[in-house]
Subunit: 319 residues, 2 copies
């Protein structure tokens, strides 16, 4: 939630000289994107986001991410498209960092996920998957099931320091996910479609953003991640069946789930909940309590994990 | 450079219901203002900054600051005016913090202070002082000369940890400022008109912002602060006579300096340099090196202090 690499007015003017986008009218660092430096730029022509990629993003992955965003924007999805410079390049360097000028999209991140919002997000996810059928360049999911046992091991028996219930939740989750659904339809997936990565106006989705966890994986796993992100109270204590039914109905209006995908959904969602439990736990144990970063509670997803381990596909469809 | 108090879409909608400004179209936390949480808000009608005041701003001072900004905006100065709600109130509470919706101004903070920019800023400062002749509500300068000896004492003999030259520079500055110019014309002053508090488009000043150090003090002290902020390389090693001449010419085109003000200028500027040297040194000694905040080097102003202690009024006018 900060700007890590400053960009001066002089830096900006030099950078913009390479583009045909007009001159800067306003330029503000924005507190968005935990891992990158982002600026909101208004020019005499339009508005843009300027992103400088910080060290947690692998520079080698950037052409793939930018191609993905450009593909979706070109298909009319509400995804911010990278802007090409006068030479046709989208990926640049600025102040020692990889950088990209990206389309600005209006909308506000939802915090209260109403059923209407969940339906719209489900539909947007389905439209995104449909539009990705011919985006076939692969990128492995570095945070997929194979990563979870070693990630749990790297927490070195300290999960109980966070919450007394956490070690058992993780053990049960790892055991359940050892039998991971295989052979499901694959796709490029967003893999992180939380409310803060969705811009909305009223019940309309105006932006799907932050594709930097996107990868190739089971399409239904993306549905599962989105379900875990949208269908519970933020602390994970309460499941909202209306949101769940609306999310699934929105998705299924765009793209069908196979019987195997449908049957696998609770297990996939348990895996999604385990993934966020583990990454939050790891970050918690490796973030000093007095750091200026708010630590996210792993228990919020450990509770979801418990719910999914007991859930049926019918419950996830709100029936 | 962060958002300390989050504001959700639901919080925002409830807050905006009290205003006649339209509905939210876009809302982004911005990395601006070290001490407050700021958001850039676009509504169906216009654009605004939403500021939540954090603990370092004294809540009791806010009505004065907001009245000052409103006064200057009403006089046509490029100052962001506070927006009144449907009941005519400007100061609100939001998520436990005092809050205010403020006009958005275009422009980009200057980083290369050209002579043309310095001239425009000098003129804007003069116009601001002229417009403040009838803004007579007083606010003492908490960081005025009386505060400097105790502030130096609170650094507890640790100035040498920052730089071997710093203790002697502070001693010399305190000695020089013990004989502080008295009886100069008083005004409400900005007291912090650094380049990052000025928005510009080309050579036009489009915004004077961040009035949260404003106070009642010698008008020429404001000129001195602005001079120290604009007329040196950022590390303080190089003085730029062209910028200095342009800044003074811009100011003097709007408002005259008395002979006493003119004679006092080097001493006032030494005091200004000492003020920023001391507050930076105090912050440096009280900020952990691994904090996510960039520490500002006190020596950048200790070097300016050295220059001013040897300067004549003629040198400050670039002659």
């Amino acid at each position: 939630m900060a700007v890590y690499t400053p960009v001066s007015a002089a830096d900006l003017a030099e950078f913009l000289a390479g583009y045909d986008v007009g001159e800067a009218v306003s330029f503000k660092g924005i507190a968005e994107g935990v891992e990158n430096s982002n600026f909101l730029l208004e020019t005499t022509r339009s508005r843009f986001i300027l992103t400088l990629y910080e060290k947690r993003v692998d520079e080698g992955d950037l052409p793939w991410f930018l191609a993905l965003m450009g593909h979706l924007a070109a298909r009319g999805l509400p995804v911010p498209g990278p802007i090409a410079d006068r030479q046709g390049q989208v990926l640049q360097r600025l102040n020692g960092r990889p950088a990209c000028l990206i389309e600005f999209l209006p909308g506000v991140s939802v915090t209260e996920a109403t059923p209407a919002a969940a339906r719209a997000v489900g539909a947007a996810l389905g439209q995104m998957h449909a539009a990705l059928s011919d985006f076939t360049a692969p990128r492995p999911n570095a945070l997929g099931p194979a990563s979870w046992p070693p990630l749990a091991a790297r927490c070195e028996g300290r999960l109980g320091e966070i919450d007394a219930d956490l070690p058992d939740a993780v053990t049960r989750g790892l055991a359940a996910c050892a039998d991971w659904p295989a052979g499901l339809p694959q796709s490029t997936i967003h893999a992180d479609l939380f409310p803060d990565n969705v811009l909305m106006r009223g019940a309309d989705v105006t932006g799907l953003i932050d594709f930097y966890f996107a990868c190739t994986d089971a399409r239904a796993y993306d549905v599962a991640v989105t379900h875990a992100a949208w269908c519970f109270s933020s602390d994970g204590r309460q499941f909202f069946p209306e949101r769940s039914a609306a999310l699934m109905a929105g998705y299924l209006g765009e793209i069908a789930l196979t019987p195997a995908e449908r049957a696998a959904l609770p297990r996939l969602a348990a895996g999604a909940a385990l993934r966020f439990t583990l990454t939050r736990a790891f970050d918690w144990l490796n973030t000093p309590p007095d750091a200026m970063v708010t630590r996210k509670d792993p228990m919020a997803f450990a509770r979801r994990l418990g719910w999914y381990l007991a859930a049926t596909p019918e419950q996830m469809h709100g029936r």
